[in-house]
Assembly symmetry: C2
Homo-oligomer: 344 residues x 2
């Protein structure tokens, strides 16, 4: 009873009470097998009683391992600052859970493309590695990634998975998903399918989706019409503008495959305003299955990415990278969610 309740116990306190030395406490709690079962049990009991916790800072300082990962969202600074891509937000849940399961803490930050991630997070020993999520200026982005590789920073990013990519990338099977979308539209009888989304190599994921669409069309004996492709970034406004451009061009089309749900939602607004009936005149497919997709009129058919799988895959891959183990899986399948916007 003479102890100060406010003073947090250290491993020395435990050691004293257990009649052993401080290193033995450390060894016992970390599971070293050079401690007898009886001693270990005793130490654990005492630690429990005193509500002892290993000091994270001291532990990290000594072991040079933080058991912390950093999650960086980097998007172009948005006029509406509080707006975050909903798709990435929903990945957050699975990432945090996977981190917790693996005993890792998660630091989170939104970055405006600064130059010093490695300095900020790895060199200052805040985290053992970095998860990168986001779109943005792709060229600028690549430059930064090369820099990270040079600095030996451990990181993994979500994106288009290809062998020549910079650093380690995991992502959905975008080509396969594009094929599913195309096949579905062909199946319901559509012939002239428009694609809304940047198809250049500035947006590899969108490009993959477009390539998948083209492949499905060709497999059905249709030739994709390049005039039916319109660039768009992932936002409602951009989707609206792209659809307007398509409508005003006078091209005929009976389906729209939007590279993201946000684009699709904007496009549906433009199409409806133009007096087109959905899905009768134009069928629409989105990508991501954000919560809003089931609230639109008509509800939006879309490709659902495996968000839960994505989170654990990202964490798995990063931990493998940190421990210099080979990374097993890198690609996740997507699933077609059929709703009213393609129900004819």
């Amino acid at each position: 009873m003479g102890r100060q309740p406010s003073a947090k116990p250290t491993s020395f306190d435990i050691a004293y009470l257990a009649g052993v030395s401080q290193p033995t406490v450390s060894r016992a709690l970390r599971g070293s097998k050079s401690v007898s079962a009886a001693t270990r049990a005793n130490i654990q009991r005492i630690a429990q009683e005193l509500n002892y916790t290993v000091d994270k800072n001291a532990s990290s300082l000594r072991s040079q391992r933080t058991h912390t990962l950093a999650l960086l969202f980097f998007e172009d600074p948005n006029p509406d600052e509080s707006m975050i891509n909903p798709f990435f937000l929903s990945m957050l849940g699975s990432i945090t859970r996977e981190c917790a399961r693996r005993g890792y803490d998660l630091l989170i930050s939104f970055q405006q493309m600064h130059n010093d991630w490695h300095v900020t997070y790895q060199d200052s020993h805040r985290s053992d590695g970095i998860i990168l999520l986001g779109y943005g200026d792709y060229q600028l982005y690549l430059t930064k990634l090369e820099h990270l590789v040079e600095m030996g920073t451990k990181f993994v990013r979500w994106g288009s998975v290809s062998e020549d990519g910079i650093g380690l990338t995991v992502g959905s099977d975008n080509v396969g998903a594009g094929e599913q979308a195309g096949a579905h539209l062909v199946e319901i009888g559509r012939r002239r399918i428009a694609f809304l989304g940047d198809a250049s190599d500035h947006a590899p994921e969108f490009q993959d989706r477009y390539n998948g669409l083209c492949r499905a069309m060709r497999a059905a004996g249709l030739e994709p019409d390049p005039a039916l492709q319109r660039d768009a970034v992932s936002s409602e406004d951009s989707g609206y503008a792209a659809a307007r451009s398509l409508i005003e061009s006078g091209q005929t089309f009976d389906a729209v495959f939007a590279a993201s749900d946000l684009i699709a939602i904007g496009a549906m607004r433009a199409l409806t305003e133009a007096g087109l009936r959905l899905p009768h005149d134009v069928a629409v497919i989105g990508f991501d299955d954000i919560p809003a997709a089931s609230l639109t009129t008509p509800t939006l058919t879309t490709l659902m990415q495996d968000m839960k799988g994505a989170g654990s895959l990202l964490v798995d891959a990063l931990l493998a990278r940190i421990d210099d183990r080979p990374v097993e899986q890198r690609i996740l399948p997507a699933r077609l969610i059929r709703r009213q916007s393609t129900a004819v």
Copy 2:
């Protein structure tokens, strides 16, 4: 050139190059005024050149300050694990930004109401304080909070602001927002206004909103009918069920004030299915202004909470609490967003 590029520089390296002692480097970089301007400038230049960063673990260990806050979402374990209350998610952006602005890192975690937050985060020196966000089993919740207070844990939570609350709470002006909702419905001629949301003291925020509604009605000479109140938690399904219950009861009503947008969206589905025309037969107001609110049919009138303000207020309050300074502001105003669901 003989230096190892991979070895991270320490304050000793800087000190050696600057011809001073290590503590002087520490003082210079932390802005102590007992270092001459010339020395400081020189040290900063060298640190810059070497890409030196203060080791976070060593710094935190020595100073017993982590400059890190922990954000805890605690909700009842959901069957759909990846579902997070969208309102809290949008608060995330402003919290991270405010932390960054103040030079704090942010740890994030989802908790299933475990007992040991303080152990996990404060006692193990992972963070200086905790931000709590979430609904959940309110009684259980209160017990945990009392425990936190006992342990001397620094924390702040989002919720119903009242003087007798446990710990430090900041939140929206729920009563005032409820009044705005009520006044608006009265203004468009509605007399029999239903409230969907738990009005017991298990959900103080909802209760406040209901009280605000009642106040506005009485101010207009109307007496709220308790039969028009239905309990609901913040989910679509719960809103749907509550609205069904109301419809089946045979009560007449010409407006619904839902305690959250999710409840409102579920209720609108039930109302529409029952053949009621919105807003002609029944006007609907929600709460939160989640992104989906502008996508429903009809679009949803709602009360927008000041999310950006909320984030900075939470961080401000917590930092004040950590430094034992008085907390200035605790209540944020909400704003009525008029959309189609009340446009008559």
